[in-house]
Amino acid sequence: MATVEVPYQETVPLHHPKTWIGKYIFSQDHKIIAVQYGITAMAVGLVALILSEFMRIQIAFPGWELMNFFTADHYYQAITMHGMIMVIYLLTAFLLGAFGNFCVPLMCGARDMVFPFVNMLSYWVYLLSVIILMVSYFVPGGPTGAGWTLYPPQTITAGTPGFDWGIATMLISLAVFIVAFTMGGLNYITTILQARTRGLTLMRMPLTVWGIFIATFLGLIAFPALFVSAVMMLLDNFLGTSFFMPAIVSLGQPLDYSGGQPLLFQHLFWFFGHPEVYIVALPAFGVISDLISVHARKNIFGYRMMVWAIVAIGALSLIVWAHHMYVAGMHPSFGFFFATTTLIIAVPTALKVYNWILTLWRANIRITVPMLFALAFVLTFIVGGITGLFLGNVIIDIPLSDTYFVVAHFHMVMGVSPILAIFGGIYHWYPKLTGRMLNDTIGRTHFYFTFIGTYAIYFPMHYLGFIGVPRRYYETAIADFYPVAAHNLNKFITIAALIVGVSQILFIYNLVHSYFNGKKAPANPWGANSLEWCTPETPPRHGNWEDRLPTVHRWAYDFGVPGEEKDHIPQTVPRRKAS
């Protein structure tokens, strides 16, 4: 091209905040917003973690006097809140809100998101949704205990804890969260599409950005279904409409509902719910791809394949939702269709796993803390993914439905795996964010507790599921038709869960302690190539770059290129003329 184009961002002056509040509280800087998202998500995630510990203690030691306050109602409320918080308010908010905000502008070589004000609103509306969710512990009847899937009619029928007010706060909070996500998501997509720097073509973007890009797209398409079902259920609950409520007799009294369609809710919910799995998984895939490539000092194997696999997984995830509904009963060819599409997703996913392993093959692997988490992610994801193949088949799913096998599957694949990716990402980007290194020894200890601990928790659950221990039961221990092994395993799992839960203190201590006392981080401690490691300052200032935005000449994976002196070549280094 003869004329040199100038990125639009370079021509608009950036308004730097003058006040402390403008800088750190109502900040429009994407990095601060990322931290705000991250801290809020972790705080609310800790609540969900504590709830899960209560549940585990109840399962293993029912009738223990200290747990007398924890009634069956509390148990169901804990299940519901744990699931919803973990999936939406922690994982989605952390991977897209925190990593999305931090990585997208930096890795795209942009000064900020395209609309920083909307980005700021996104965080505050998210915080509002979290507050509304927490308020449900203080309304009459407490939070809803319907299970995170919120299936009607039981969700809004007397007998379910929180059937009147708890469900309202839950649904309103979800709707508010969707508004927040939409504001953030529009920013991510527009930034990635329209605000990349010179030379950064789509096929040179780091895979983290690709994962966040497609996941955000999925979110913008899938969250509307949740929004609509939330609106309809609120109307059912408060206005007496019958969208989801059939004619029903509750506690001996016929209710004022008739002709509603409970299955419609399940379809709407899972049209959101399944893409949600990939909204969480795709950014994790991206982060892990970058972590593995950087810390193995080797280019990612099959970059183009990785990109198209992300796109294919995203597209396929929109047409598999009814595999969550096999036990609801459906036409066999309907089940056949959804089983087939589900199994087809395994192809691009397996492709990604193979590519990670091939990236590691004969690489110069450095066992750093982020790398440990990345390797653990691949292992955990394989286990969780393979049990997914079991559950994708109608005929195997039906007997395994609502057993601990399902619990093991989804915790492995979308509970533990993305959390490992989040931990890995934090250990990887913390030096750039704060200018300090995290403590290595504490990091390693935290890793082994978390990784081995989560295996100790979830691996035995497969066995429990196979022998038919049902999930969501307040007391299984009194049922003596389960073998002694099941009861003992439950105790074992609970002890492991308590250890894992407590060991997270190490992580929080590390974050806080290193922020003040950590070693000063160099600009590029891992020898990575992508743009966030090329900022003029560490941590990057508001606006990220000096007067000129960086120019990109290559992809982000030039590690150990034959004939080059250095083992890594940042994206900003021009390519030599071919001799």
Binding site: T190, Q194, A195, F223, V228, G259
Partner: protein, 225 residues
């Protein structure tokens, strides 16, 4: 001959792919706000799609009779019951407002600020009158035909539920659009957009045309089915 045409086609495909994946901007010459509005509308499309799919499921599964649209939505003028009269007027008004909006966009790119202002204001007024007529329609349905969200004398209770929900949600969109149009119109004459190419008018226009398009679907599904 076929060979060359095939290769030309391939090159168009490859060059399009190359254009789209090029650096800095994927959609050349598209301002950030416009790209963002398109993506938002994609998301909003899914909201209305879910609503309309819910409506279709209701129509298919309810066991009681569904009220007849031409009777429920009839307007009595001088003693004659005219089916769909009010709705025809409302649709006409909304489509007209799309026309004034398109003219405003055209004036915007000619930088004729006052023309933009008056045309956008006209669009907002037409939109407001649409919402007003919708209020009248709701009043008639609720007060005169005693249709409630939870039931009605004609048959399936879901008729009122889904009708009020979907038209209400659309009405909220129109109302928000009226506010949006007014704010942008005032900001234009105050010179807030003088440094730009007035693409904000087109962005508002995108939203407004989208709301109109949704109405066409609602009209077809609720009033003609």
């Amino acid at each position: 001959m076929t060979d060359t045409s095939l290769s030309t086609q391939e090159s168009i495909l490859t060059s399009t792919a190359r254009d789209w994946s090029s650096d800095m901007t994927t959609f050349k010459g598209v301002p950030w706000g416009k790209a963002m509005m398109w993506i938002f509308l994609l998301s909003d499309t899914f909201i209305f799609t879910c609503f309309l799919v819910g409506y279709m499921v209701m129509r298919m599964t309810v066991t009681e009779a569904w009220p007849v649209a031409s009777e429920v939505f009839a307007l009595t003028v001088w003693g004659v019951s005219v089916p769909l009269l009010l709705i025809a007027i409302m649709t006409f008004i909304l489509i007209t407002s799309s026309g004034t909006m398109a003219m405003a966009v055209n004036m915007g790119y000619q930088r004729r600020k006052w023309a933009v202002f008056w045309l956008m204001l006209a669009t907002a007024l037409l939109g407001a009158s649409f919402v007003g007529m919708q209020c009248f329609e709701w009043y008639k349905l609720i007060a005169e035909e005693s249709i409630r969200p939870w039931g009605n004398p004609m048959g399936a209770p879901q008729f009122g539920s889904i009708f009020f929900m979907v038209t209400g949600f659309h009405g909220l969109h129109v109302s928000a659009g009226v506010v949006y149009l007014t704010i942008v119109a005032i900001r234009i004459v105050r010179g807030k957009y003088d440094h730009t190419n007035f693409e904000i008018v087109e962005i508002v226009g995108l939203y407004w045309h989208f709301v109109d398009l949704v109405w066409v679907f609602i009209f077809a599904f609720f009033y003609l089915w």
